[in-house]
């Protein structure tokens, strides 16, 4: 307990140092570049440089967003307006890009943030390492360091303590202990404060947020409608060409049997066995169809066992870990199941892996699923790939998909869907 606390404080100290450096070096540079570039717009040069500089600023801000999520679980939304897909190229495109970026309120929030970051942000960030170092320095003073310092400069002021002998060095050490204590309890809080500060400046106002949300909802609703329409067409076709046709054939056979049963019992018997075969085949087809609409195990047991059953049917050895304290809402469950199924099929088909792992967990109001393989990697989310299909499927539920797949592998597909458990 004690050691983890100490380790956390030291880690926070290192993070603070890194953040302070980023704030002082990165933010100041970015701010200066941006101001100069924007100032040069009237004479034309700025038009060419501003988009590049602003992209740099955005990358810098995004870097901080990422660290906020990773280090302190502080989520700062990314509010930039997307560029239209039909951007022109060349000088006109560059001018267009420049105006669009300058019109985006997020750009101006970025600039404000740079100012806040290089001042308040940097100060808050430097405190965690400073507390630790100052504390250690106080202890070193008591260890005898005060002697050479005092010999060289006379009285040394450690904070408000004038160190000139063993007694005052002892006081300094005591104060050092206090600093370290403060660091132990406060460092992580300070780091979080730094990110909250950034978040408060960077976060878009409500209107922008709503605008973005509406855009996203429209898009996912379109996708959902498209997908379900395609699904219905598929089901209709399968029924029409499959089970339905077989039942018709069966009825016809039965009719013939009726006519034949007295004239030619041998042939009638043959037809009866054919009719039975048809009914068995119709059942098989219906079963496959049901599996494609809503897998029975999913209905009966929920996501965990359904994924386990799925893994058992794969030709590749698959380990499944499930940690779900309850059942996921039915629509999410179904979407998640098919997403996993697609990810696994993808892995089996393309990765060349001989082992697969599926992890299903629930934490912080989100269902998290990771599908990992030991294959050759190089998977990408792009048009036409199975992964984009999964992304669309999850998008309907505000779910997200992340793929990590360096060339040479391994590939890890993670999905996260916010949902409630029952």
């Amino acid at each position: 307990m004690k050691t983890t606390k100490a380790r956390d404080a030291v880690v926070a100290g290192a993070q603070g140092l890194a953040l302070a450096l980023m704030a002082l070096v990165g933010s100041i540079t970015a701010f200066v570049l941006a101001v100069v570039s924007i100032a040069l717009i009237p004479i034309g040069v700025g038009v060419l440089t501003t988009p590049a500089v602003l992209h740099l600023v955005r990358a810098h801000a995004n870097q901080r967003r990422l660290l906020a999520a990773q280090w302190s679980a502080v989520r700062i939304p990314v509010p930039y307006r997307p560029f239209p897909s039909d951007m022109r190229t060349g000088i006109t495109g560059q001018v267009e890009r420049c105006t669009l970026m300058l019109k985006d309120p997020a750009t101006w929030r970025d600039m404000q943030w740079l100012l806040v970051d290089m001042t308040a942000g940097a100060i808050v960030a430097i405190l965690p390492p400073a507390l630790i170092l100052e504390g250690i320095f106080g202890l070193l003073l008591l260890a005898g360091l005060w002697q050479p310092i005092v010999e060289a400069d006379g009285t040394y002021w450690y904070s408000f303590i004038p160190v000139d002998g063993w007694g005052t060095a002892g006081l300094a050490a005591l104060l050092g202990v206090v600093w370290i204590k403060v660091a132990l309890y406060g460092n992580q809080f300070l780091i979080r404060t730094h990110f909250r500060l950034a978040g408060s400046v960077l976060a878009p106002n409500r209107e922008v947020e709503l605008e973005q949300r509406i855009g996203r909802l429209t898009e996912t609703r379109h996708d959902a409608l498209d997908t379900s329409a395609a699904e219905l067409r598929r089901i209709e076709r399968d029924l029409h060409d499959g089970a339905q046709a077989r039942l018709v054939a069966m009825g016809m056979n039965l009719g013939t049997i009726e006519a034949l049963i007295e004239k030619d019992p041998a042939q009638a018997k043959e037809l009866i066995s054919k009719a039975r075969e048809s009914s068995a085949e119709a059942l098989t087809e219906l079963r496959d169809l049901v599996r494609g609409i809503h897998p029975p195990v999913l209905a009966e047991r929920g996501l965990g066992d359904a994924v386990k059953a799925l893994a058992l049917r794969l030709p590749v050895r698959t380990e499944v870990e499930v940690e779900l304290p309850g059942r996921v809402e039915a629509p999410v469950e179904s979407a998640a199941y098919f997403a996993v199924s697609e990810a696994l099929t993808n892995a089996v088909k393309h990765s060349g892996a001989d082992r697969l792992w599926v992890d299903v967990t629930y934490a912080d109001g989100s269902l998290r699923i990771a599908v990992t393989d030991n294959g050759k990697g190089g998977a990408m989310i792009g048009t036409g790939s199975g992964l984009s299909g999964i992304e669309r499927r999850l998008g309907t539920f505000d779910g997200v998909l992340a793929v990590s797949s360096p060339a040479g592998g391994p590939t890890m597909v993670t999905m996260e869907i916010p949902c409630a458990l029952s």
């Binding site: 009914s279 059942l283 079963r287 029975p296 009966e300 066992d305 059953a309 058992l312 794969l314 030709p315």
Partner: protein, 215 residues
């Protein structure tokens, strides 16, 4: 032979009752829900229970759960589970206690009355009756694994039937060979898989499944 039957669809229940009666089974009870099944299994002490996986009131896997619970209360109680679909997951759960006397078949199998009745009898006698679909899935999945890859096509056929729960005599009948030939195949299979030979049908199925399961 005394049977308790659980199936929620009236037509199917009625058909099953008729079929079982035609083959001289005595129907102690034909129920349509999980709680009724639990009660019937506890009170009537049947020789075998024929149970649909999906039963009211939950319409999930209530039938399977009731059957598993009844087998925990009375180990070895013969249970034949019927389902609209077969899953290895459920097959494993049924086989897990190692007591035998379990069956897990696709509902389609009732279309072939004689085979179905044969399966009920086998289960009642403490043997197993696994749906060919479960077995073939298992075999195709494990086909890349070495020991199974070493089997000849004929031996694979024998193993598939053996894993379903058939006796050597039944296998011989199905493959149209002599029983001695089957016995030779089975001992070859056991040798190749490194399993101790046993005459007990049920134990050898469990051995095969356990091997396949070991993955």
């Amino acid at each position: 032979m005394r049977v308790v039957l659980a199936e929620d669809l009236f037509l199917l229940r009625d058909g099953l009752v008729r079929m079982l009666e035609a083959f001289d089974f005595e129907i102690l009870a034909a129920v349509e829900s999980g709680p009724e099944l639990t009660e019937a299994l506890a009170e009537l002490e049947p020789d075998v229970a024929v149970v649909d996986v999906r039963l009211p009131p939950s319409h999930t896997d209530e039938g399977l759960q009731c059957a598993l619970a009844a087998r925990r209360a009375r180990p070895g109680l013969p249970v034949l589970v019927l389902s609209q679909h077969v899953e290895q997951l459920y097959a494993r759960e049924l086989l897990a206690d190692g007591n035998g006397g379990v069956g897990y078949l696709l509902k389609d199998r009732v279309l072939d009355a004689e085979q179905f009745i044969d399966a009920v009898r086998r289960v009642a006698a403490g043997g197993t009756a696994m749906d060919p679909q479960v077995i073939s899935q298992l075999l195709s999945r494990r086909a890349q694994d070495k020991p199974i890859a070493g089997l000849t096509p004929r031996e694979l056929e024998v193993m598939e039937l053996m894993a379903q729960g058939r006796s050597n005599a039944a296998i011989a009948g199905q493959l149209v060979v002599t029983e001695r030939a089957v016995a030779k195949h089975t001992s070859n299979i056991f040798a190749k898989l490194g399993l101790p030979v046993s005459d007990d049908d049920n134990r050898r199925v469990l051995a095969v499944l356990a091997y396949l399961d070991r993955g």
